[in-house]
């Protein structure tokens, strides 16, 4: 049976086509203003890659911020459950999933069957979210996907502490004005973001293996800093784009009927 998962986030839309326990195809696009349009475009892309048509898909599960808006979804499932499912399917030893999304980040604790035991969101004041990096990339005039690499080349250890994203940005502006190196600032940003998220995991009491999912997992700077912040090694998904994990989880759930 062929199933699909569609994850409409606040910044990107993702889709995954899934058949006999394997990923057939996937697609990621930047979210459009109209979530309906986003979902239709992204699922179509995924279908095209798989050379399939909508009517070939038996069940589609929707998730993410805009899930309510997905016209073709048969069922809806929370991101928490989807991310847990996707990561656990990929790495069965996973007991904790950390997902840094555009609007919020989550720490999720699961049992050996991939069922959610406990979860927690980032505290109010969103400096622990992917949005944080986007705003900073803006302020620093660097590409979002370049940040990790550049940050790794840091020399001086700087400190960015502010709870508030916009104030943190002001701190960055001050650092820029002190003519600090971009790489050093980026490194500080990655550490501060990672530490905010690390405290989520810690508040659930750590259990290994810890898997990091979501687009930000591609940022090597944040990824490494997260292990330091948690005090245990964090794993990435095995051979899967961490960004599609939510959609993947949805597709798997769809296949479970």
């Amino acid at each position: 049976m062929k199933t699909a998962g569609c994850d409409i986030g606040s910044r990107t839309a993702k889709a995954v086509i899934f058949e006999n326990n394997t990923i057939v195809s996937s697609a990621v696009i930047p979210a459009k203003l109209d979530p309906v349009e986003s979902s239709e475009t992204v699922i179509q892309m995924a279908l095209d890659h798989a050379k399939l048509k909508m009517e070939n898909i038996d069940t589609i599960v929707g998730t993410g911020y805009g899930q309510q808006e997905i016209p073709f979804a048969h069922r809806l499932e929370s991101e928490i459950v989807c991310h847990a499912k996707g990561a656990w399917w990929n790495i069965p030893s996973a007991r904790m999933i950390i997902d840094i999304g555009g609007q919020d980040s989550k720490a999720i604790k699961i049992d050996q069957n991939g069922r959610v035991i406990r979860y927690t969101y980032n505290d109010k004041c969103a400096s622990g979210t992917g949005r944080f990096l986007e705003i900073m990339a803006d302020a620093l005039h660097v590409e979002l996907n370049e940040m990790g690499k550049i940050g790794k080349t840091f020399k001086e250890k700087l400190n960015i502490s502010n709870q508030c994203v916009i104030f943190a940005e002001t701190e960055v502006v001050s650092l820029i004005n002190e003519e600090k190196e971009v790489a050093d600032i980026l490194n500080a940003l990655h550490i501060s973001l990672a530490n905010r998220v690390a405290s989520l995991a810690r508040s659930l009491t750590i259990e290994q293996d810890i898997i990091m999912t979501g687009g930000v997992a591609k940022n090597i700077g944040v990824f490494d800093a997260l292990s330091d912040g948690i005090g245990f090694p964090v794993k990435g998904l095995d051979g899967i784009d961490p960004q599609i994990n939510g959609a993947l989880g949805a597709a798997i759930i769809a296949s479970e009927g």
């Binding site: 929370s78 928490i80 959610v116 406990r118 979860y119 109010k124 508040s203 009491t205």
Partner: protein
């Protein structure tokens, strides 16, 4: 503050709203629907309240009286004392020329019933120098009184020092700003020791002196006794409701908790509050006989206990959502007494209070003991995991109520609980109670929209398999 707001006196608005509203009891459903059209902001509170029948009318009548008295305080030569919830106001009714204004209740009612809730008043407090991060529960109504849009305050008397400094700090600000006399009861971090008891008693006696000095009138022993005897009745009624709440399905309508919360911190020791409780008990008893749930649709799918306070900033959206989902509201720490007659007050000496009306001294000691055992002054003073403190109380209550899950609702202004809710939640989880921490503000809807909160609640109940 917006110019148009400065045109209205808050007490007067309430007095007229509630006095008029109580007549709605006579109207037919169609008439009601028609009226609701014209009061879109009061509707969300009024509708579910009115649906409770008799107690609703007494509730509205009670608040009509309460605010009318405050409006006419000066003409009737009465002084107005600003006080806090978790302080038993019955002492004030034992003095014939004193009327209490309880800020948190005013804030809750404003948040529940007005357009933009009480946010303009909250912001006004910031404008005149009060810390914006301070607790919203006071900032709402306080703004109105500090702006002169309510009764003129003659003195400030409260408890909370040592339990919730943020609260005491707000009242201290009000007193300094208005330049009126201030007395705050202070609490040690322990409850049951003899020293603590002595401290409570001496501290309360100073309060009595303070009141007598600033109202220049003596406490009338008989009046005090009447008030306390009335309070005894009220305790017994509240305890009976609490007791019946243990049944499955829970026969108590969730909205009662807001009604009791609002009434007990303004009208303790007054006959109308007793009347409301009697009417509630009658209905709940009926439900018990018929084996009915307090939920409108009658089906109880989940029993949730609110480990701290309630939410008043979304109208009663949370209650309506509970109703819709079949979640039975087991109350919060504000809707119960710690009288020795309460179903959950354990035999541990000193944790509960006894009302002793033998003579003046025993009565003052009783009042001191009561105030030291108001929901907050008792529960969140010492370490959350110390004996008879937050964890103990929550676990024993959740147990006897057969709660399926626990909910924390509060305000970002609460330094006290936000400094240990993560610890409490973690322990509750380890005892098998799925626990949800809401980040919204119980009085200020700007902190988190109801839509967002609803999404989080949906998620919690769904993911944790509670429905």
């Amino acid at each position: 503050m917006r110019p148009e707001l400065k045109e209205y006196n808050l007490d007067w608005l309430f007095a007229s709203t509630f006095s008029v509203a109580k007549n709605l009891g006579k109207s037919s459903p169609d008439e009601l629907e028609y009226v609701y059209k014209y009061i879109p902001y009061v509707r969300p509170l009024l509708k579910p309240v009115l649906e409770t029948g008799k107690p609703a009318l007494t509730f509205l009548d009670l608040f009509g009286d309460y605010y009318t008295d405050i409006v006419n305080a000066k003409e009737n030569g009465k002084k107005v004392v600003m006080t806090t919830f978790c302080f038993d106001p019955c002492i004030f009714y034992a003095v014939e020329n004193l009327l209490p204004v309880t800020l948190e209740i005013g804030t809750a009612l404003t948040s529940l019933a007005w357009k933009r809730g009480s946010t303009d008043f909250m912001d006004y407090c910031t404008e005149i120098g009060f810390s914006e991060t301070g607790c919203s529960s006071q900032r709402g109504a306080m703004g109105a009184y500090l702006a002169g849009l309510g009764a003129q305050i003659d003195l400030v008397a409260l408890n909370m020092g040592g339990v919730c400094d943020t609260n005491a700090n707000a009242y201290n600000f009000a007193a300094q700003y208005l330049d009126v006399p201030y007395y705050g009861l202070d609490y040690p971090s322990e409850l049951t020791s003899d020293e603590a008891r002595e401290y409570h008693h001496k501290d309360y006696r100073n309060l009595v002196r303070f009141i007598e000095e600033h109202t220049n009138c003596q406490f009338d022993i008989d009046r005090l006794r009447d008030v306390l005897e009335e309070k005894r009745k009220q305790d017994d009624l509240m305890n009976e409701i609490e007791d019946m709440q243990r049944l499955v399905p829970n026969p108590v309508p969730g909205i009662y908790h807001i009604m009791i919360y609002a009434a007990r911190y303004t009208y303790s020791g007054k006959k109308k509050f007793t009347k409301m409780l009697e009417e509630m008990v009658e209905i709940v008893r009926e439900n018990v006989k018929k084996g009915l749930s307090g939920l409108r649709n009658g089906v109880e799918k989940n029993r949730s206990f609110l480990v701290y306070i309630d939410n008043y900033s979304y109208g009663v959206a949370l209650y309506e959502w509970f109703e819709k989902k079949g979640i039975s509201h087991l109350g919060n720490i504000l809707s119960r007494t710690f009288a020795e007659t309460a179903p959950y007050t354990t035999g541990i000496p000193g944790t509960a209070y006894r009302i002793d009306t033998t003579n003046f001294d025993t009565m003052i000691d009783t009042l001191a003991d009561i105030n030291a055992r108001m929901p907050m002054t008792r529960t969140i003073r010492g370490s959350y995991d110390a004996p008879n403190m937050w964890l103990d109380d929550t676990l024993s209550l959740a147990k006897i109520y057969g709660a399926d899950s626990c909910i924390y609702l509060g305000t970002p202004g609460c330094r006290n609980t936000w400094s240990n809710i993560k610890l409490l939640a973690r322990d509750l989880e380890s005892f098998g109670y799925p626990t949800f921490i809401a980040y919204g503000d119980s009085f200020d809807s700007r902190v988190e929209t109801w839509e967002t909160s609803e999404m989080r609640f949906e998620e919690f109940y769904k993911i944790r398999g509670l429905l």
